[in-house]
Symmetry: C2
Subunit: 342 residues, 2 copies
Amino acid sequence: MARSSITIGDVAAKAGVSRATVSRAFTRPDLLTAAVVEQVRRIADELGYVPNRIARALSTGRFGTIALLVPDIANPFFPPLIRAAQARADTLGYAVFLGDSDETPDREDRLLAKLAPQVDGFVVASPRLDEERIRFHAGQKPAVLINRDIAGVPRVLIDVRGGIEMAMTHLFGLGHRRIAYVSGPAASWANQQREQAAMAAARRFGIEELAIPAYRPTYEAGQAAAARLIAAGVSAAVAFDDIVAQGLVAGLSARGLVIPRDLSIVGFDDVLAATTYPPLTTIDAHCADAGAAAVALLLEIVETGERRDAALTIPTRLVQRDSTGPFTTEDAKPGRSASAGS
Amino acid sequence: MARSSITIGDVAAKAGVSRATVSRAFTRPDLLTAAVVEQVRRIADELGYVPNRIARALSTGRFGTIALLVPDIANPFFPPLIRAAQARADTLGYAVFLGDSDETPDREDRLLAKLAPQVDGFVVASPRLDEERIRFHAGQKPAVLINRDIAGVPRVLIDVRGGIEMAMTHLFGLGHRRIAYVSGPAASWANQQREQAAMAAARRFGIEELAIPAYRPTYEAGQAAAARLIAAGVSAAVAFDDIVAQGLVAGLSARGLVIPRDLSIVGFDDVLAATTYPPLTTIDAHCADAGAAAVALLLEIVETGERRDAALTIPTRLVQRDSTGPFTTEDAKPGRSASAGS
DNA sequence: TTGTAAGCGTTATCAC
DNA sequence: GTGATAACGCTTACAA
């Protein structure tokens, strides 16, 4: 049984017109006499009538909703993205379902299936699902991917290569010659992109290609990787993301190294702002822009109905703060006092 | 026009039963012969049939969705809460709409009105709306508040008083006698609670009631408040939240003070984990628990239909890390070298 | 235990 | 330009 709200019928009765006319007064006013439209609207207001979106959805097959799926809401990369996506969708008149796959392909699959019958489309950020399943879901409902490059599926990508290049150039320009990439989850598409770009840049500069694993994209993993970084005798590192970079800085500091005097660190994403000490030099991934762009693209596809193979690239930018500095011959020589005396 | 998906009719035809039977196989299997249920379900699976929630909603007036409203997704307090809320809702079979009011009462009001006709209820975290409007919306659809105490509206509260008490007792026990509360937004209900509790505790200990404003709950505001803290000559402070506390630590360090040797700082919320330097002593607000509890409470109200005046309190806990230490007579005497030499 | 049929509130297709 | 009327896919009395 439905709740006792005012329906199109109530308005129609009071206005002395048919329900069809009331409907048109809201959806296709151009088909009606201006006077009728105005009168119907006035009565609707009086009665406090609001079109029932559910009934409308059942009739039109359009819901006015989209779903946004992320692997982990609590990962600092996503909140700005979610926020911007939500804001854009709201502006365009859509409501957004949020789903958290908890980094699990199966849960992502389940959420996609569960939400599909009640949304006009999906934005899937950093999908964990395999290509085949993503293709399947994208075939059922319009979908836009963020941070995953699957030909044929509309997607918004971050210019990882450009960002890494800028970071490596910055470090190389400061005199560093042993530069490591501290990697995140090996299975992560984003990590693969970043690692490849870092290795390519190293090759281009003619320096050794060094990759040091942090395994997981966490502060603790970064701390633990600090020891490996020292053992490798590098003077600079580009981390998988800001969190790993922050952990690295902490782990390095705890071992008596001073950043950036002894070692330079670059993060990725710029989601920690200047809240680390020292403020982190990082690659700004404009994740908010990515969220907004993905929603805009999705809704364009939803509303025009065309199935184009779009691939938007969001530019990155190197934000120089204080975790990087010039190479000195003292670099990577741990064991000295941690005190910051002159 | 609707998309050409498999409907209840397709399943009914293939199974050789009526549509009502198929419906019952999913909603009231107890009314059917076990064999029939099994057969219908099998065929439904074969066909890939999934009940259309929109059609179901139109018929039952129940949507299987709730809306979760927050003032700012990017505020670190909310992601864990959102994550837990979403997970709990998902477990209970509900999908969740996420709304961001951008700290604006009007946007919150608009979101509430917009989402109302398509959800079974609301969870509103840290509402910015005035009491009257909240009461109005809560009268239309079941709603549970987090972090706001309005009699008659079901709510989940954080045990602020207990947490602040523990923090003040901890500090007092360490020998501190000039302890300030560094406040957040004056208009924020949460801030008022925290400030009152801090002042009450100070009174209880017979020490001066000191409140120092940070105005906004940001890292920068915390940094700026550091100067006022020094000027006030305190040896310890409890901050509005972890972000302000982090800013405070940064601002204090930049002015040559060493934490916790020169000044002890306690945060609130425990959303930064141990990622600050030094790791922050803070009051764990269990915000994830609050999110999960609010959803559980809401759905209980939605499903039983009873309109009880529940007020759950989530306990807090003091997490002692390294930003607090014993009072020394050297405290709050800025101007010395910042070097950490023994 | 199962089938029939009447909604749920809209929109879309025809007529007029 | 406006009004009937049939969907949309499902649930649920009421019958059988």
